[in-house]
Amino acid sequence: MIKLKINNKPIEVPEGTSILEAAGKLGIEIPTMCHLEGNEHFTSCMVCLVKDAKTDKLLPSCSIPAAEGMELITDDEVCRESRKAALELLLSEHVGDCEAPCQLVCPAHMNIPLMNRLIAAGNSEKAIEVVKRDIALPAILGRICPAPCEAGCRRKQADEPVSICLLKGFVADEELLGKKTETSVQKTGKKLAIIGAGPAGLAAAFYLNRYGHSVSIYEKNEKAGGDILKIQEEVLPKEVLNAEIDSILNSEIEILFNSGINFEKYQQLKSEFDAVVIATGNTPELAKQWGLQASANGIQINKETYQTSEEKVFAIGNALRPSKLAVRSVGQGKELAQIVDSFFRTDQLNGLHKRFNSKFGKLRQLEVAEYLKESNKTDRLQPGKGKAKGFTKEEAIAEATRCLHCDCRNIESCKLRNLSDEFGAVQKRFQYDERISFQKKFSTQNIIFEPSKCIKCGICVRITQQHQETFGFSFIGRGFDVRVGVPFNETVEKGLEKTAAIVAEKCPTGALAKIDTEEQL
C-alpha cells in the first residue's frame, strides 16, 4: 500500500492507483475529459493537473501513479488557473454552439429549438411546457412580439428564418383550447406583493406562484394586461388575450383590481409582505415620491438582482425604462421570480448565473448546406388563416421542421461546457486565427459527428480499437491540425459498426452524439 496526502488528507492506496483515483476515494473530485474509466490513461486534455506541494510541479493526475509520501494539492489558485488556461485553449478552436443563436438573442431566453423539435414531433403538450419555462404569456406574445429571435435565426442565411413566434403562439393556443390549468405546488409561506398586472407583473406572478410563494397583485385598473390592452383586435383578438390572462390568474394568485397604490399603502405593503415587486409601467416620479432612487427614465436597480434602493423592493418591466418589447418584461418577470425564490430559500440575494455558452457566429456559405442536412427544405410558411389565427397543426409541424438544430445535442452533459462554466473560461481569449469549418456527418446508427467540436481526447479512437472495429476512428495528421476521423475517408457508419452507442455516450463534448438525444426535456 502507498501512503500519500491529498489536500492534506492522508490516504492509502494500492500500488498503481492513479492520483485521480486516489483523490476519488477521498471524495475529492478532479475534473477530467480525456480519461476513460477502466482504460489506460492518455493524458490529452490536461484539465486534471494537480500540484505537487513539495516541488510545485503540476502533474496530470489521471496518468501519474500515486507514490509514497506524495503531498498533493488539487484545488488551489494555480490548479484552477491551469484548468482555465487549458479550457481556454481548447475553446479557442472549438467551433460549435451550446445554445442556439435564437435562444441567446431572445430576451426571455426561451428554448426555441427544443420547442421546434417537439412541435415537429407532434408533441404540442411537451412543447408548451418548454415554452412556459421562460414565457408566461406565449399566446399573446405569439401575436405581438417583434421576434428578435427570428433575426438571430440561422435559417435566414439559407432563405428566411423559422417562424418561431407563430409556432410559439400555436402551442399556446393548443393549450388554451385544452383549458389546462397549472397544478398547484406546496406553499412556502412567503408572501409577495406585485404592483401592476402588465406583462412583467403577470409573468412574475406566474412564476412566483409556481415556486409556491403567495402572490397578491395590486392593479390600479379594472382589468389586467397593462399596455397590452391597447393592442388592436386584428392583431391580438380579445378572446386570446382574456383566455391567457385568465389562465394565469388562477385561484392561487390573488388580484385586487382598482387598487392604485399611494405612499402609505406602499409602506404598508412593505411591512406586510416578504417582498414587493414594482411592475407599474414607466412611473419614475411615483417611485421618487416613494423614496426610491430613480432617474428620469425609470427606477434604478441592481442590474443583477432587480433590487431597488430598498432591500426588499424589486422593480421590473417598463418601470425600469420605457420599452415596447413585451417579451423583455415577460423575461424579467421570470428572472425576478428565480432570483427572489433563491433569495427566500438561501437568504442570499444573487443575480442569475450566466451559463457558459460556446458560440461561433455567422455560418459560412458552405456551412449552410451542412445545417440544411437536417431540416425541411421548404420555404417559410404563412398561416393560411392569417397571423392572428395562427398556424394549423399541419402548418406548424411543417414550419417547425425547418429548424436547423443549431443547439448542441450534448448541451447538458458536455464536459467542456460544464468545466468552462465552472472555471470561468473565456472562449474568445485566444481566438487569433480563422476558425475551422463546421460539418455535420450523420450515420444510420442514430449518430451525428460534428468534428469541429472534437477536443482530440481520443476516447472514441480507444473505444473503437478496443472493440476491434474494422475501420474505427483514428487520429489523422498531427500537431494542431490533428483531427479524429474514419480511416480512408470511410463513412461514420463504417467506422462505428459495433460501437456507435458507447462512443456517443463517452464523448466528452458534443462531437459525437445520438441524433435523437434531448437533454433538456
Binding site: 490536461m46 491551469s82 488556461a85 487549458a86 485566444f430 476512428f473 487520429f475 500537431g479
Partner: protein
Amino acid sequence: MTEENKNIILLTDEIIAEKGNTKKALIPILQAIQDEFNYLPEESLRRLADITAITPADITGVASFYHQFRMQPVGEHMIKICIGTACHVKGAMQVYDAFKRHFNFKDGNITSEDGKYTLDKVSCLGCCTLAPVVQIDDVTYGHVTTDMIETVIHDFESQAGKTGKKKAFRKKGESEFQGEIRIGLGSCCVASGSDDVKKEIEESVVGTGINVQLKHVGCVGMCHQVPLVEVIDENKQSKLYAKVKPQEVRQIIDTHFKPDSLFKRVTNKAYKLLEKVQTDEVWEPVERYSIDVRDEMVSNFLDRQIPIATEHRGIINPLDIEEYKRNDGFQALAEALKLEDEQIIQKVKESGLRGRGGAGFLTGMKWELTKNEAGDKRYLICNGDEGDPGAFMDRMLLESYPYRVIEGMLIAAKAVQADEGYFYIRAEYPLAVNRIRQALINCREQNFLGDNILGFGFSFDIQIYEGAGAFVCGEETALIASIEGNRGFPRVRPPFPAKKGLWGQPTLINNTETFSMVPYIFKEGENQFNQIGTNDSKGTKVFSLAGKVNRGGLIEVPMGITIREIVEEIGGGVQNGKKFKAVQVGGPSGGCIPAELYDTPIDYQSLIEVGAMMGSGGLVVLDETDCMVDIARYFLSFTQDESCGKCTFCRVGTKRMLDILNRITEGTGTKKDLEELKYLADWTQKGSLCNLGKSAPNPIITTLKYFYEEYEAHIEGCCPAGKCAGLIEYSINDECIGCTKCAQKCPVDAIKFEPHKKHEINTELCIKCDACRQVCPVDAVIVR
C-alpha cells in the same frame, strides 16, 4: 480492377512478405511502399489492412503522423529547402519563395505543372555550415541565394543521367607507395562537392603511374572549409587544402606527386596546358586554398578542442574496422568484458558522464536503474533521432565514427544485460544509415556483435530503425512508441523506460553522443574523463557551430568553456565584421543567450540558469542583423509543426503563441499580446505532457527576458534588425550608380530599368525578397 491497381496490390504483397505482417513492421512497410510508388496509394494501404492484422486506424494514424509519408503523388524530383536555424538566419525562406516564384506556384500548390518538380521544406539537412542549403533529390547545393535558382536547376538538369566515369583507382601495392590523399566524406563535404573532387582525383591519377592511396575519412569538423583534401606525401608531410574545386585537383596532385616516367609527365603537362587554353575559366592558383595545420587559424580552431567522441578525426576511414582496431578501437570493450556488470556501471558513474541528449541525466545511474529492473528481456536503444534544426552532431558521429558508437553500445548492453539493440536514426540522414548498416555487418563478421561475443559468453545484436520524420520521436517514450509501430505520441513518465520501455520491458536509451563517450572512459580511465570539464558537467561536449560565424563546424570542447571562447577563438568571431548579438543554444528547446552573457560557461547548470539548456548541442551564432522576435517566431513555427498533438498545452498553446508572434512580426501586435504571450509561455511550460512542449516556450521566454525592447519596437511598428517583412521598406539611396543590376533581378518589376540613373523602388509592388540588396555592388539598397 485496373491493371494499375493489380500492380499495386502485387507489389504491396511483396513488400509485406519481406517486411512482415505485424504492427511492428508498419513503419518499415510504409517506407517501402513509398519507395516503390513515391507516395502511399490508398489501394496499397487498404491491401495492407486486408491481408495483415494491422488495422486501417493504425495505418492511417501512423501514415499521417510522420512527415516522411505522402498521401499524394509528387513530382519526379523533390526540391527540399532546408529551413533549419542556420539556413533560416541566412535567408532560407527567401530562397523558398524564389523557388515558388520560379515555378509560379500558387494557392499551396507545390508541384510543377509538368510534374517534374515538387517543392518542399525540410526542417534540417544537417549541413548548417553551408547555409542556405537546397537539396534536389540527392544532390545538395550550398550557399544558395535567391538569384541562383535557375543556375541550380540548370545544374541539376545537366547532371541528371550523367554517370561518373568508371572508377579506376589503383590499388596499393602495384608500385611503390607514394603517399595518401585524404578526403572528407561527411555530409557537409559531400554537399559541398567532395564527391566530384574524389572522382576528379581518381581520374587524374589514372595512367600517371602515381600510386597514392585515396582515403575516405569522416568529418574533419572544419565544415567551413569543405571540401577538404589532405595530402600526405612520401615524406609524410601533410598539407591541407580547403574549399577544393574539381578543376584544381590536377594541380594539387602535380604539386606533390611525380608521374612515374618523363614521357607521362610531359604528356600530362601538355594535356593540362591544352585544357587550360580550351576552357575560359579563370581560377586562382590552388595555393590560395592551401592551409597548414600549423596556421594560426587552424590551430585556433583545433587547439581548444579535446577529441573524445571525435578522436582520430580526419584520419581514419569511418568504415575501416581494421584501422579502428589499430587505433585502439574495441580495446575499451575488451576491458569492459573482463569486468562485472556492477563494475562497469560503477566506472561510468565515477566518470560523471551525463546524458548528452539534452536533459543531462547521470548515465551510470540510468544504467543501474535499467539493470536493477526485473524483466524477461532488456533492450538498448541508441537515440540518433537528431531533429533539432541547426544541430548535426549525431549525424557526424554516426557517419564518421560508427564503430565508436557501437562500442559504447556494446559496453552498455553488457552492463545492463541487454541482448537486443536498436539504432533509431532519422530518415533525413541516409548516409548515416548506410554507414551504420555496413559497420554492423563488419562487426558481425568479426564477432563484435552476435552470439558469445569474443568468447565472453555475452550475446548482443543491433538493428537499424529508420525514423520517418518526427522531431518528437527524439523524446524517449515517443521513440519507443515509434519502434513499436505507433504514432510517435509520448507518454507520461513515470514509469521510465528503464522500468517499462520497449514492448513493456526494461530499456536503456542513450543519445548517440553519450555512447560515443563511453569507450574513452574504459580506455583512458574514469578519472581521466572526470578531470575534464566542471564540477557537475564532466568530459567534453560536441557542438555544431553554425550561423553567422567565420569558422563553423563540428567541435568538441571541454565542458565549462565559455560561449565567448567558442565563438571568438574556435569560430573566429562573427562573419563580415558584424557585431555579436546572441547565440542560440539547444535549438527549439533552448534559448538565446545575449552578448552581455557572452562569458557564460557551457555546462548543464549554467545554461539552465540563463534560461537555455544544453539540448543536443546546436550553437547558432546571431549577429546584429538578426531579429530576435523573428528567431522566436521561427522556433515556435518549428515546435508547432512538430508538436505531436496529444496534449492541449502543446498542441494548442504553441499554435496560439505562434499566432501572437505572427501578429507581432507582421506589425499588428499589441501590448496585450505581449502579456498573453507570457501567459501562454508560462502555462505551456508548466502544463505540457513531455519535454518538447515543456521546453517549446524557451526561445520566447529568453528573448522576452533579454530582448524585450525589440518586442516593444515591433509593437510600435519597427523591426530594429530590418528583418520582418511587414515592418520594413526597401529603398535606394544616392550611392546608386545606375548599374541596373537590381532592376534586372527584381522578380516583380518594382524597380524600373533606367541605366545610369538613380533607381527607385516601387514599394507597392515590392515583395521584400531582398534580391536587389544582395546584388547591389555599392550597398545602395537600404532596408528600414
